[in-house]
């Protein structure tokens, strides 16, 4: 177990916990966070290197209990697991919807450290829900904003804004993390232009280590083969945007 070093509010119902410890992880990788006596769940790494951390949304009992943890309290951490994003090319477009910005935050910084120019589309409900906007601008990304209510940037979906950015500029690679419908659209845009694309997917995860099959998608596993998948895999994931497994392993619509 590790002591919580800091616990801060990012946007409403979204918080970041950081630790006084290093973790070598690729943005897009995740760890399993244990809140003793409550639950254990996967969380994307949102800060890598020294003082690693993760950013989460308060959704249920488990994250509510997590939100009550104060600096000095201990929580369980195992990982990092899975495959993260990799920087491909010099001009990249990243598209993040909502909490999808959690792994994209550190990836923006990594890509810029690799001398890539980064255009970032952030989509959120409203201007108050834009995660890591300042952080990304400070890192040197060109930030494009879409909000559902039009309170900042373009009114509408991140995927539509991404489409218009892709008309204006040429990119070597496209990256997406966010709601599945957004991912499917962004993926389609990249496929249409023949641009390499990576997307971070989400499925119900139990073991986190590639054995229990609960995060299966077309015989691949989000915890081990993903969460980040590349175009070659994405093209054959026919369940993407359509079917997922529930707790008992029943196939249900996405």
């Amino acid at each position: 177990m590790i002591e919580v070093a800091s616990h801060v509010d990012e946007v409403p119902a979204v918080k970041t916990i950081r630790f006084d410890a290093p973790m070598t992880a690729a943005p897009g990788q995740f760890m399993m966070i244990w809140v003793p006596g409550v639950d254990e769940f996967p969380m994307s790494v949102s800060y890598v290197g020294d003082n690693f951390g993760f950013t989460y949304q308060i959704l249920g009992e488990g994250t509510k209990a997590l939100a009550a943890k104060k600096p000095g309290d201990k929580i369980g951490v195992r990982g990092p697991y899975g495959r993260g994003f990799s920087v491909r090319g010099k001009r990249v477009l990243m598209v993040a919807g909502g909490l999808g910005m959690a792994p994209i935050g550190p990836f923006v910084e990594q890509a810029i450290a690799h001398k890539a120019s980064v255009d970032l589309v952030i989509g959120a409900k409203s201007k108050g829900n834009l995660l890591f906007e300042r952080r990304s601008m400070d890192a040197g990304a060109t930030v494009h904003i879409a909000t559902d209510d039009g309170s900042k940037g373009t009114k509408g979906f991140a995927s539509d804004l991404a489409a218009s950015v892709m008309v204006q500029k040429e990119f070597d690679a496209v990256y997406a993390c966010g709601p599945e419908a957004m991912i499917v659209k962004v993926m389609g845009l990249a496929f249409a232009k023949g641009i390499p694309v990576q997307a971070s997917l989400e499925r119900l995860m139990k073991c986190g280590i590639g054995i229990c099959d609960s995060c299966a998608i077309n015989g691949m596993h989000v915890c081990k083969d993903g969460p980040v998948f590349s175009e070659k895999e994405l093209k054959i994931l026919s369940e993407l945007g359509r079917a997922k497994l529930d707790l008992s392993g029943r196939k249900v619509p996405v």
Binding site: M1, M32, W34, P36, G37, D39, E40, F41, K74, G76, R78, K206, C207, G208, I209, G210, I211, C212, D213, S214, A216, N218, G219, M220, H221, K224, L245, D246, L247, S248, G249, R250, K251
Partner: protein, 305 residues
């Protein structure tokens, strides 16, 4: 020329490595992927009558020498799962359907439903150590094991395998009971009932508190169990527990197993583990002039090859 093909209760396996129940087998496509990676046969997830979400997380504890799991038999129920069996069957390798239930009658009914779903054999899970009222709780006395096997055999026409629990003082008597009840083969061992505690949290790590230990740590126990069972029964034995190399598999085979199952080895080595075990076994057989796997079954009982 050495080769790895084995036959067990009429099932022809291109090699003796079988995917163990509960690993990458909630979906047909995952089972197909494991078959494509080299497994000689596939055991499905343990399936019950109704959908079951399983235990909450944490459901896994990683240890340096194995895993403790308490998944809690999550499954979509036999009716929905039939489609996954169908999909798995297209892999071309034999598919063995694992079933669990709380009573003998229900288990026999499930065995039949599993047979109807199209499996080549049924594996009775008499040994899950972490689901209350199921598994080891109904499979730890010889009397119950015999009665369950008898009912399941009467209900079905495909071979019936009984997966036994090592959480008993005498697994050989469970195996004898299975044989007496008509089981066509026994599978040994399931996980060892176990617990891990976090001193800092002052509580067991698993949400279910208790779980089952698997992996390298249990191999010597599994090999001993298979060795004892081999001296007690005539029906074939399928060895399970901590296999991730050719040598590991050979231990079980020489103790008396006709085939082996691999589960936690998928965690340590990925699905490549099946090919790896096969490659290493074949190399051993060629160097030691064993033509078939059958030639090695139980040789440890003679003290020589």
């Amino acid at each position: 020329m050495s080769h790895l093909a084995v036959e067990i209760c009429g099932l022809r396996l291109k090699n003796p490595t079988v995917l163990a129940a509960g690993i990458l087998d909630e979906t047909g496509t995952s089972m197909k992927a494991v078959a494509a990676a080299g497994a000689g046969a596939i055991v499905t997830k343990s399936v019950g009558r109704e959908p079951r979400p399983g235990h909450g997380n944490p459901s896994i504890v990683e240890l340096p020498f194995g895993l403790i799991n308490a998944m809690g038999l999550p499954n979509p129920g036999i009716n929905e799962y039939a489609a996954e069996v169908n999909e798995a069957k297209t892999s071309g390798v034999p598919v063995i359907g694992s079933v669990f239930a709380g009573t003998e009658d229900e288990l026999a009914e499930l065995a039949l439903l599993m047979q109807n779903a199209g499996v080549d054999a049924v594996e009775l899970n008499l040994s899950c150590p972490h689901a209350k009222g199921y598994g080891a709780e109904i499979g730890s006395t010889p009397e119950l094991v015999e009665a369950i096997c008898r009912k399941a055999k009467r209900a079905t026409s495909v071979p019936v395998f009984a997966k036994l629990t090592p959480n008993t003082s005498d697994i050989a008597s469970l195996a004898m009971a299975a044989e007496k009840g008509g089981a066509d083969a026994v599978v040994a061992i399931n996980t060892l009932k176990a617990m891990a505690i976090s001193p800092e949290a002052r509580m067991p790590i698993l949400a279910n508190r208790f779980g089952g230990l698997s992996g390298a740590a249990v191999r010597p126990v599994g090999v001993r169990c298979v060795y004892e069972i081999f001296e007690a029964v005539r029906i074939p034995i399928i060895g399970v527990g901590g296999i991730s190399s050719g040598n590991d598999a050979l231990e079980y085979i020489m103790a008396g197993a006709t085939a082996v199952q691999i589960g936690t080895g998928v965690w340590t080595d990925g699905t490549e583990v099946f090919n790896k075990v096969c490659r290493e076994m074949l190399r051993f057989m060629e160097r030691n002039r064993f033509e078939t796997v059958k030639d090695m079954v139980g040789v440890a009982h003679h003290g020589r090859a």
